[in-house]
């Protein structure tokens, strides 16, 4: 498919999903919201980490920064502006930090990005305690759940479209080149530093915007709950299960994973984690390329 066709398909999908509030129950809507949230997080994670092989665990840091922008700004600023600011704050943070740490590779990079979440969490706790004399913030008069849903849908759609555009662009080629062989890409004239920072910041923007958009549902924002490392782990897991080199893989995987987790949680309240863990092991063992590799296997089998 050409980029134009892909973007058309994304827009069509988003239009269909925009009608969900009239069709689905409140619970279905919040389930769809979770799916969309993880679609947005997983595709943008895959856009940077999948292409470059820089395993980033910073998603929860970006998500939490966005959520905290909501905690500070919501009530005085309009919701849409807060969401945009949440994204921008996370992107600014990512470019700043990225400039300092994107020369690290492998486990060092992964551990450092995980540490970012802790760093930001403690920095916010400290400044809130010192200057605001409180640590948690209460959000009153949150927007309707439909407004939150449409906002998250918009961000997720933009995230998928942005990833599709990046894949077809020079930046996407540069990121893929870095993943294949960073020195060679550099020799061939790619400004790897700039490409990495751009990719890292773009992923951060969407994670931050999603954090800012979703946080209004929680009424009470405190560092311990918004800098939840599981959000970061889950994002990585979803992208890898789906196939981090592809665009459709993480999308399908986010939906399947979110629904499956929910189904297991509701149907097998005591055993679902065991089942989930078992499924993950099986997937990693027998489908290392992710769900997306099923398509190519299928093609090969047909050919």
């Amino acid at each position: 498919m050409t980029l134009r066709e892909i973007l058309g398909a994304i827009a069509a999908g988003a239009l269909v999903l925009a009608a969900l509030p009239w069709l689905a129950s409140d619970f279905m809507l919040s389930l769809a919201l979770t799916c969309l949230m993880y679609i947005g997080l997983a595709v943008t994670w895959a856009m940077f980490s999948g292409a470059t092989n820089y395993l980033s665990l910073a998603t929860s840091a970006f998500f939490g920064i966005g959520a905290y922008v909501t905690a500070w700004g919501f009530g005085t600023l309009p919701y849409a502006l807060v969401v945009a600011l949440g994204g921008l704050a996370a992107a600014a943070f990512a470019s700043l930090v990225g400039a300092g740490i994107l020369h690290l590779r492998g486990a060092y990079f992964a551990v450092l990005t995980f540490g970012l979440g802790e760093l930001v969490r403690h920095a916010i706790t400290y400044s809130e305690k010192t200057y605001a004399h409180t640590v948690g913030r209460v959000l009153q008069d949150a927007p309707e759940s439909t407004a939150v849903y449409w906002t998250v849908l918009l961000i997720a759609t933009a995230a998928v479209a942005a990833c599709a555009a990046v894949r077809a662009s020079r930046l996407g080629l540069a990121l893929a080149g870095i993943g294949a062989d960073e020195e060679r890409a550099q020799t061939l004239g790619v400004n790897t530093r700039r490409a990495k920072i751009a990719g890292f910041a773009l992923a951060a923007f969407f994670a931050g915007a999603l954090g800012a958009a979703v946080a209004v549902r929680w009424t009470y924002i405190e560092p311990a709950s918004v800098f939840n490392p599981f959000i970061g782990f889950q994002t990585v897991l979803i992208a890898m299960i789906g196939g981090a080199q592809t665009l459709a893989g993480p999308i399908v995987s986010a939906v399947v994973f979110s629904l499956l987790t929910e189904l297991l949680r509701l149907q097998f309240p005591y055993a679902y984690l065991i089942v989930l863990g078992f499924l993950l092991i099986v997937l990693v063992l027998y489908l290392p390329g992710g769900l997306a590799s099923l398509i190519s296997r299928w093609r090969q089998a047909r050919a």
Binding site: S25, D26, F27, M28, S30, L31, T34, M37, H122, T125, Y126, K129, H133, T134, V135, G136, V138, Q140, A142, S145, V214, R217, W218, T219, Y220, E222, P223, A224, S225, N228, F230, V252, V255, V256, L259, L260, E262, L263, R265, L266, Q267, P269, Y270, Y272, L273, I295, W298, R299, R302
Partner: protein, 397 residues
């Protein structure tokens, strides 16, 4: 090909979705009363939730059903609990309550565990009109939301800290050192403590805070030990309660009064720390000696779950169920009427009389408890005491 795959994915998603929605049974005359809740069974909140809260829900439903059912305005109906795991995540918890209230349309809900989680359900209980009596939520900020459907049955920070201030004043304590966790709980308790101690003429000679998840408090304790305060107060969460106890003992910091907060009332604190905690004080409400009703509650809990309830909020969780039960007997399951009955009534519970004003239980006083032997004795206020206080605290064993 791509299209068939997409179709298959959509079909699978729709199938899963309809399985999730479940089927709502028509409410027949003798249908059970469906009571839903989400609580942590996994993740960081699970330890507290599984000590203090969910065991009470399960035991209550079993007791009610064994007695023929729940008295709904004179008619007995069985109780069916629908318990979900919130995975210690705000988003999962909100979604679970949306399912229970909006899709499953359960008759009643029970609260989740912890202050943060209770905040997150606040808008939902107001939107769908479900009264909720919370046993593990403290903080003026919660009550400040003025949600007509929210009731806090646990003693709020000012009551607990004022009780401690009175107790220490009566023991002629002049100076105190205080540390607190940097979190809503710690900050609110610390503010309440400072106010109370000022009124009682107890000077706070050292005040320090530490982040959630702290791993070492020895430097802070060494500093405090050097200043030699009469009393030491840690406004702590369970992991830091264990930590501060163990480290104070290690450096032989033994003030006349030693107080730590959440977790001191857990039986596991006694079992893990052993005889070392003789004389340690903390947040409590009652123990089996408090009354025959309390004894019956402790015995039933121990028999059912093979573990004792904690000596603070467990009993509040049980009392919240008793309040709900008594209100349902009077007005039935109409949730608006039920809210009004809870707001306006007075109830006999395991923690004594319970009465709400502006959503706060104003009938239960602040309590100070102290470990003596195997029991967390109530030592303040005098009319609730189950033993005289051990003062000054004996040396660490």
């Amino acid at each position: 090909m791509r299209r068939t795959l997409l179709k298959a994915a959509v079909a699978a998603a729709l199938g899963a979705a309809s399985a999730l929605a479940g089927v709502t049974p028509a409410s027949a005359q003798d249908a059970p009363v469906r009571i839903g809740y989400a609580i942590a069974r996994t993740g960081p909140w699970a330890a507290g939730a599984q000590i203090t809260q969910e065991p009470n829900y399960i035991m209550w439903a079993e007791q009610v059903n064994a007695a023929g059912g729940l008295n709904v305005k004179g008619k007995k109906r069985k109780v069916e609990l629908i318990g979900l795991d919130d995975r210690s995540e705000a988003e999962t918890m909100v979604r679970s309550y949306e399912k229970l209230m909006a899709s499953d349309k359960v008759d009643l809900i029970l609260p989740p565990w912890g202050t943060g989680a209770n905040f997150a359900v606040m808008p939902l209980i107001q939107k769908y009109g479900y009264p909720m009596i919370a046993p593990t939520a403290t903080g003026r900020k919660l009550l400040g939301m003025k949600n007509p459907y929210f009731f806090a049955i646990l003693q709020q920070p000012d009551l607990m800290m004022d009780a401690l201030g009175e107790f220490l004043k009566a023991r002629n304590i002049k100076t105190a050192a205080m540390i607190h966790v940097d979190e809503l709980f710690g900050l609110e308790q610390a503010a309440a403590l400072e106010k109370s101690f000022k009124e009682k003429g107890i000077q706070i000679i050292e005040k320090k805070s530490y982040p959630l998840g702290v791993k070492d408090l020895k430097p802070v304790l060494n500093d405090i030990k050097a200043k030699n305060p009469d009393a030491f107060v840690a406004l702590s969460y369970p992991p830091d309660t264990f930590l501060v106890t163990a480290q104070a003992r290690e450096i032989a910091f033994n003030p006349k009064a030693f107080y730590a907060s959440v977790g001191t009332a857990f039986p596991v604190y006694r079992d893990k720390m052993g005889p070392a905690i003789e004389g340690v004080m903390g947040l409590g409400t009652l123990n089996p000696k408090s009354s025959p009703a309390a004894k019956a509650y402790f015995d039933a809990h121990t028999a059912r779950h093979k573990k004792e309830p904690d000596r603070w909020a467990s009993a509040h969780a049980w009392a919240a169920l008793q309040v709900m039960q008594q209100a349902i007997a009077k007005v039935g399951l109409d949730r608006k009427a039920l809210r009004d009955a809870i707001a306006g009534g007075e109830f006999d519970t395991v923690i004594g009389k319970v009465r709400f004003r502006n959503g706060e239980n104003i009938a239960t006083p602040g309590v100070v408890s102290q470990w003596q032997g195997k029991e967390f004795e109530v030592v303040w206020p005098p009319d609730r005491a189950t033993a005289p206080a051990l003062h000054p605290k004996p040396a660490w064993k």
